[in-house]
């Protein structure tokens, strides 16, 4: 533990609500420990603001251990601060120098309307999931662990995709405001497994349709999303989604008549 306090100059986006006019407000925080997380620095600042009778800065956070996907700050123009595979809550102040000026903005996307200050409404992601990001087949009780034999390599691909915590850093950092990395991960994690594969075509068609309707941008393969994804989701999942989508377009159809049994 280091006792030397750091002084950090913050420029934070303040906006009372989505309809209000927003502006940057400067704050000086001089009791920052290098061992604090970026969010803990905001806790310290908010404590001071509350003591002074001012409105604390609204920001999303929950688990603070890098697995929930709630924290969402654009730090000096980089989602989650731009450190490899790191969420804002896992970004430590020792990565900065005392006296640093840091600009903090909310995620900017038309699909993520601003709620207050640094908090945005990411329910557009929920809508994409609701459009098909699940398995609807009834699977009954938990089967025996070895009933479905899945090679380790395939399980690993599914797990890598499933690591997505839906924080929205991909959308925030994408120069086009596209949610393809998120959607690619959610389609991939099911498409490669026997439980999810049968519904992959319909799932992909519906999710992509919803994505496009929600005013997300189009992917142009910059891969800036991959660079800021705290879970290191790869472009290969976007590629899998692309080919699932093409395949689904030319093969999927809704059965017209109900089957007559017996």
């Amino acid at each position: 533990m280091s006792d030397a306090n750091m002084v950090i100059y913050l420029k934070v986006w303040r906006q009372a609500n989505g309809a209000a006019e927003g502006k940057f407000v400067d704050y000086k925080v001089d009791t920052v420990s290098p061992d604090m997380s970026f969010l803990e620095m905001f806790d310290v600042l908010n404590n001071e603001l509350v003591k002074k009778g001012e409105d604390p800065i609204a920001f999303d956070h929950d688990c603070r251990e890098g697995i929930c996907g709630m924290c969402s700050m654009m730090i000096n123009g980089k989602a989650h601060g731009g450190q490899l595979n790191t969420t804002t809550c896992q970004l430590h102040m020792r990565k900065f120098k005392s006296g640093d000026s840091i600009v903090v903005e909310p995620w900017r996307s038309r699909a993520f309307p601003l709620v207050k200050d640094l908090a945005v409404d990411r329910s557009a992601f929920d809508k994409i999931i609701q459009a098909g990001g699940y398995v609807s087949a009834s699977t009954g009780n938990a089967p025996d662990a070895n009933a479905n034999l899945i090679p380790k390599t395939i399980a690993d691909i599914a797990m890598d995709a499933a690591a997505c915590i839906g924080c929205g850093a991909c959308v925030a950092s994408c120069p086009n405001g596209s949610a393809m990395l998120f959607m690619g991960a959610k389609i991939s994690q099911l498409a490669v497994l026997p439980q999810g594969e049968p519904e992959s075509a319909k799932r992909t068609l519906n999710m992509v349709k919803t994505h496009d309707e929600l005013l997300f941008g189009n992917c142009t393969n910059h891969a800036e999303c991959v660079a800021t994804c705290p879970k290191g989701i790869s472009m290969e999942h976007i590629a899998r989604m692309n080919r699932e989508y093409t395949k689904a377009t030319f093969s999927y159809f809704e059965p017209k008549n109900a089957g007559g049994a017996g």
Partner: protein
Amino acid sequence: MSGAVTTFLRSSIGRKQLIAVSGLLLCGFLVAHLAGNVLLLVGSDAFNIYAYKLHQLGPLLYVAEAGLVALFGGHLALAMKLTWENKVARGQKYYVKNRTGRGETIMSATMPYTGLIILVFLVLHIIQFKYGPYYSTEVDGVMMRDLYKTVIEYFASPLNTAWYVVAMFAAAVHTSHGFASSFQSFGWNHPKWMPGVKSIGVIYAIAVGGGFALITILLHVKGA
């Protein structure tokens, strides 16, 4: 089925695959064009006969030209719509724009701008040569257009040559992202061979962009 195809062509993924396929076909056209340009270095007769024979194709040539117009036009229209939609998708801009350096590259970030340079170049290029000064020559007793003379005259100017080199640089930058990006758009990204595709894209960009530029410089040296 037609409904599914329409939906596909309107979707973000369908449209980018159209951009990708038209882009790759245009990459193929550039190779054919470059091969024709090499004849400029062989000599005036070789080049003029090549141009003459292309024109002798008659209706086939019109079909090819219409195809190229459709490819360029479609590629351009879709890309412009895409760029506009992507701008709108951001909403309020970031105060600080920063990149990690691990994703977006100069090549990928400048696609709309290099594309526009290529568009301006293309329009001027057609005016300068196809509809440029007309000279006649006789090769082996056949009267034909002396396009070689038009070309040599044009590249006698260092300014014209410089502009062509700049435009070819833009084309190289554009294709260095576009080539590999197409494969990703089709969904052909595999950890084993994607690095190879990316390398081929860069080699293609340098070879084609550099090839065109080198020929213009050599013609300048020859004509000046």
